[in-house]
Symmetry: C2
């Protein structure tokens, strides 16, 4: 397809696509004349992913380039590639070194993973940005004096496990390989605002049921 | 307690507390001399909430003041107050007027709420920031050409409903009234990064189970 069709099918304006091409977030098209290039389905998918990372994930261009490098690294197997790409997505604030609240949070997170039997997460531990995101969140609650123990976190972790099954089911609708990794990264980012919005709607529903 | 103890127990530095007092995010203490004031447990709770809104919710001071106004409005009953306070929390991007993707997203969201039987959410509809947040998220997926229908959203909504039960159970640990509304707002904001982090840990776990 030509640039105009790529723009129409992706909903991304032509000048934005040209910018992504210049920034090498999108591979060049197949040149068919001095002024025209042809783009394929792979370009369309990649463009959607770039748009998701930058517009919804609010990622700087340099970070998006890093995520895409992991997506397209053929030297890694799909599971590792998937992990590497999702790891490169920004994860919010890092834990505050080793103040007492962070120590408590780390022990709580470790006990939670132990109880859930999440062996993979236990194995990656401190190296995983998602682990550090959880520790940082728990530490904030500890620091502000909100109770936050394993018993309280368990229902959230169990819901997260159910969400992950839904997430991976969506990913498996795509063909194996690069396409699947692209979908995993895009859906991780795109479903976050939907999930937080649904949680708030569900809260209003539940609050109405209890106190309404 | 004195200012120093309030700072120690909340983990918030004294100059920051003085700033919140000047900005009226925190009610003044009970003056006991020309230079000293006494603060109570209510100040401690309010301070934790302010900190959660500004530091974790990344809210501008003016928005935090608006949320707090809803928290402390005695003319509203607890359920309405809770709703008003949570509604005042920023919800991310608004839907894009009435482009075709937003129309599709609105129909999808309505069909989802209908299928879930969430009557309260259906009643508030377009007026609810959480509803608009969901519509905006679905519209982004539609615009980028990712499939996003009711069947795909249902497991996320069901998890959201389970999360809301956990959320409201936490809120009910507090005494009724202002304290409960404060906890609801703080926990809504504080659990968001923890939940997103747990989802990514669970994804890695599930990905390892399927492809590892």
């Amino acid at each position: 397809m030509r640039l105009a069709e790529l723009s129409e099918r992706s909903g991304v304006p032509i000048p934005t696509i040209k910018y992504y091409l210049r920034e090498r977030l999108l591979p060049p098209g197949h040149r068919i004349s001095a002024t025209q290039a042809e783009y394929g389905e792979g370009h369309l998918r990649r463009l959607r992913l770039v748009r998701a990372l930058i517009q919804v994930g609010r990622m700087p261009v340099a970070t998006a380039r890093e995520v895409l490098a992991a997506v397209t690294d053929d030297s890694l197997d799909p599971h590792v590639r998937l992990g590497a790409a999702v790891w490169a997505i920004p994860h919010g604030p890092e834990p505050d070194g080793d103040d007492p609240a962070t120590d408590t949070a780390r022990r709580t997170a470790d006990a939670l993973l132990e109880q859930l039997g999440w062996r993979f997460a236990q194995g990656t531990g401190e190296q995983s940005p998602a682990y550090r995101m959880v520790v940082s969140g728990i530490a904030t609650m500890v620091r502000l004096g909100y109770p936050c123990d394993v018993g309280q976190l368990l229902p959230y972790a169990r819901s997260a496990a159910e969400l992950a099954v839904a997430d991976l089911d969506l990913v498996e609708r795509y063909e194996r390989g690069e396409e699947q990794v692209e979908a995993a990264v895009a859906l991780t980012v795109l479903y976050e605002p939907v999930l937080l919005g649904l949680r708030r709607l569900a809260q209003a529903e539940e609050s109405n049921r209890r106190f309404g």
